[in-house]
Symmetry: C2
Subunit: 348 residues, 2 copies
Amino acid sequence: MSATMKKIDVDVHNALKSPRDIYPYFPQPWKSQGAGLPTSGYPSPIDFKRENSIPPSGGPAASDADYIVQHLIEPNDIEFAIMTGHYFDVSALVDPDHAAAIASAYNDYMANDWLPKHASFRGTIVVATQDPFQAVREIDRMAERSSMAAVVLSTAQPGLLGQRRFHPIYEAAARHGLPIAIHPGADGGGGTYPPTPSGYPTHFMEYHLRTSQSFLGHMISLVCEGVPEKFPNLKFAMLGGGVSWVPHLLWRLDKNYKALRSTVPWLKRFPSEYIRDHFLFSANPLEEAYDPQNMLDLFNMIDAENVLLYSSDYPNRDDGTATNLLNRLSPEARKKIVYDNAKKLYRL
Amino acid sequence: MSATMKKIDVDVHNALKSPRDIYPYFPQPWKSQGAGLPTSGYPSPIDFKRENSIPPSGGPAASDADYIVQHLIEPNDIEFAIMTGHYFDVSALVDPDHAAAIASAYNDYMANDWLPKHASFRGTIVVATQDPFQAVREIDRMAERSSMAAVVLSTAQPGLLGQRRFHPIYEAAARHGLPIAIHPGADGGGGTYPPTPSGYPTHFMEYHLRTSQSFLGHMISLVCEGVPEKFPNLKFAMLGGGVSWVPHLLWRLDKNYKALRSTVPWLKRFPSEYIRDHFLFSANPLEEAYDPQNMLDLFNMIDAENVLLYSSDYPNRDDGTATNLLNRLSPEARKKIVYDNAKKLYRL
């Protein structure tokens, strides 16, 4: 894939120099409690960051907007970069008001101090799902800013995302024409559930592998609870979780639906049809088959050219798997994946 | 697939007429507490049983050994039928001693009153994993009976099955040359964890779809904790959970291993190699792709002819998906799946 092919990057993990960056927007009593986010209890034993991602100005990787432009945006011909950050994990906090205050302060900081720094930057609205009504007010407050392109949610949630208590959030996003981006987060941390259906894994490697279990749980819930039927214009971008589990999901959902459709009467179509029309998936990181043809067969099963979205996952390392695979597709398919699908999804 | 092709059926759900059937082997104080097993809280709204599976003698489907012979074994030319039952869910009970007492009484009942009824019948040893040392004693007590072909475990466990506390169970099974069969159970019931990484789903359909999340969790745990390396002769039969999630597991495991191998130094090979050598999968129920070629591509990704095991899942309905797919394979591959793989695995 040519670096000079115009792209939309749907998953850039901007960071703050310090949680204190948001303090100008962070009222008391919250400021005294700090803006720390829950952690999972599984610290990474290795550095996943790409080379030279620490900005010369200091601070964490991806914490300098100008350096992101120089290191990522310009060399890769990225026309729009969707900033997903890390603050989606406010949903893992136990206190809904503390979570909502951090979300608001972060959104204000991004809208005022970060996103105006480059024409390519687009933000994602962070919300505290613990109190869906506060989340709706936050979406209403931020959605009409042209710099905001989506609502972003962590997989680390106080429940399965299809459940009815979360529907007001989808109603608000749909009303403003914003998609929902879902990203792996600190599952198991704070007020969330154990990160696998059988409790807490032992090692970071196992924890890191749990992502598909979280995505499967949330997507099954979203589809079976009828969210795409209830909000026909709402779309979801599933970021950073790969795609090789998607055929399983499509086939099992439809098979169960044939037997159990009377128990989910709000569904008017096969579950796989809702997934094809409402869910897209980021292309990085991507699973790596021994024989690349296996992944191309899998791309065929999921209609990859219409559901994949280019992403750098910056500042995390890019191992080239996605690029190698995309280079095997037709130029038309590649263009949809690196540009057209995202342009339409985020209404850029 | 011809009904007159000799088969080994690795997943037959024999039932008791009543929990009281085991009472002759069930001492006090347990008898007064009963032999009930935890339930998941998700009762099925439909009857999954096949036609005419209720025996003329009355009682639940598959509760009459003679009728199983007449209805399943003889018409399908089954040489061996592995009886997996329902009692594997003792592992979901909170009290380890109550669980161990039910397991022992059930195993005695099966060995004495059921398995001698037909030459094709083979049992599976039920154990209470809450107290692995009692489980080892139970395996040692039952393993040398020729009627016992495996140790059976539910996915509904007090933890992830690769964790070290469970290793004595694997040591005992390996010492007796018995494989471990793992079957979906009452995940979320009794003393187990919520059945998805984000808590309790709303509907039975979603609950029924959770199976792959449980299998992924346990298999990632078993491989990353080094169980196949520590017990090189131990094999696992993953029953009733389908196979379309397996390529994802193989590819993600190996990719993570490349980055994180220093954190799991007991692994000497790629995780996918352990899976190929130690894990087999039952072929029923099976996912159904729109285009059967997709499933055949997937079979190719998992080396299906060497890892699939024929199963009826009796008395549950057989929708023909597996049969249709097996009929597209070569006669040699089909023979391995319906007979040879199981004969070797269960040492029949």
